[in-house]
Amino acid sequence: MNERLTYRRRDRPETVLHVLEGPCLRVRGQPAVLPESSLRLLVYLAFRRRPAGRRVVAATLWPEVTESRAGGNLRSAMWRLRGAGAGAAVVEANGATLTIGEEVAVDLDNLSGWAERVIGGGTGPSDLTVPDGADAALDLLPGWYEDWAIVERERVRTRVLHALEQVSRGLSAAGRHAQAVDAAIAAVCADPLRESAQRALIGTHLAEGNLVEAQRTFWSYRELLAAELGVDPAPELWQLIAAARIGHLPTLAVR
């Protein structure tokens, strides 16, 4: 997270580009009426985070038309954005390059900031939570199939999944088991085949002492893996369950 984005966040921005729900551009809370081409341009520039040459932008957003036609489309997308923000321009043109306007906040930035801090291990108590929008960030702009959108979707998704797994461990360690389970299940919802997510979930059940929930998670994961990929869970996962079983037998015997 660079300084500029952090600064934007604190500033109670008037112009916000929503990519987690929508996509849409809101100015002082009101959605701006924009053609899809203009929204795509904004989102592309927001994802890119650094100046992009006009010709690159045009060719990326309109790969199937001639260069001059793409240039025309870009000009018209920019034209429709004139006056869309609250005062300052939402797209800044600097010679042959374009950037997203300084004043435009992107709703994804808060969440990315959280994910970076969590993954970096520098979490304070306030980061030990699943922020709003995490679910939406796991499937960013699901209907956009362009390469640049797919790359960003995967990047954000991987970061957020990592962060959720990490946070679930942190929450377990802090004794906040309900939140820990919830964070891990959010990761499992997004990618049921992902072993680290399932391991995190099993870990949260075990941390709480819920052996049967852990076993059930394990067995349904095993079934899923067999059905989808025809493979078995990794040995570490078996060991996790086996070790827990032995560890818990005396406790169960007492009951």
């Binding site: 987690l20 209907g143 309900a178 919830d182 959010a186 499992v188 819920n210």
Partner: protein
């Protein structure tokens, strides 16, 4: 349609109108149920192409898009305006409340240390069938389990809160509901033990 509209998802999806439970419930036409449920679980707006691909995975794009159009049409023909759609997106109307969301919010409040209320048990019973029970859809299972865990943790949190406040009887009632529902859940038994110990003190 008069009064608030609630989408009920702890069973086959239905709509309830007005404040009173069971007053003016309406079934959702079979062809529209899955789309409504999918839109309700995925808050925000759905991309039509993506939703159609998920809901009708064995059809090609054109066929799936056609199925989605016909689902929307069936809902409208049945006089149920729960979904709105434009060329690219489908979304649940803002006025429609989803009972699963209400239960999730209730659970999170208790988990975060919110006070117990007399209506907690009614909410618990309402959620017991589970989210869209019996639906084998891949996009339902994880949501169902997530909500189930939230509700269980909420009831545990509630019972501990009652116990701490000296409400032994009410804590015991909650613990018994939990153990009856999930006889193999260790934390539920631990709760029962804690209440036992407190009672003997």
């Amino acid at each position: 349609m008069p009064g608030p509209t609630t989408l009920l998802l702890f069973g086959e999806p239905r709509l309830a109108f007005g404040e009173t439970d069971g007053f003016g419930d309406r079934d959702i036409p079979a062809g529209g149920k899955r789309l409504v449920a999918y839109a309700a679980l995925h808050r925000g707006r759905l991309d039509r192409r993506h939703a159609a691909g998920t809901l009708w995975p064995s059809c090609d794009d054109v066929r799936a898009a056609g199925n989605l159009r016909s689902a929307l049409w069936r809902l409208r023909a049945g006089g149920l305006s729960v979904l709105e759609a434009d060329k690219q997106q489908v979304w649940l109307r803002a006025e429609v409340t989803v009972d699963a969301d209400q239960v999730a919010t209730w659970a999170l409040r208790l988990i975060d240390g919110g006070p117990a209320s007399d209506r907690d048990e009614a909410t618990w019973h309402r959620s017991r069938p589970g989210l869209l029970p019996g639906w084998p859809e891949e996009w339902v299972g994880p949501y169902r389990e997530r909500l189930r865990q939230r509700v269980l943790h909420a009831m545990e949190a509630r019972a501990y809160a009652l116990l701490a406040a000296g409400g032994l009887e009410r804590a015991l009632t909650a613990a018994r509901l939990l153990v009856a529902a999930e006889p193999q859940r260790a934390t539920a038994h631990r709760l029962l033990d804690a209440i036992d110990r407190a009672a003997r003190r």
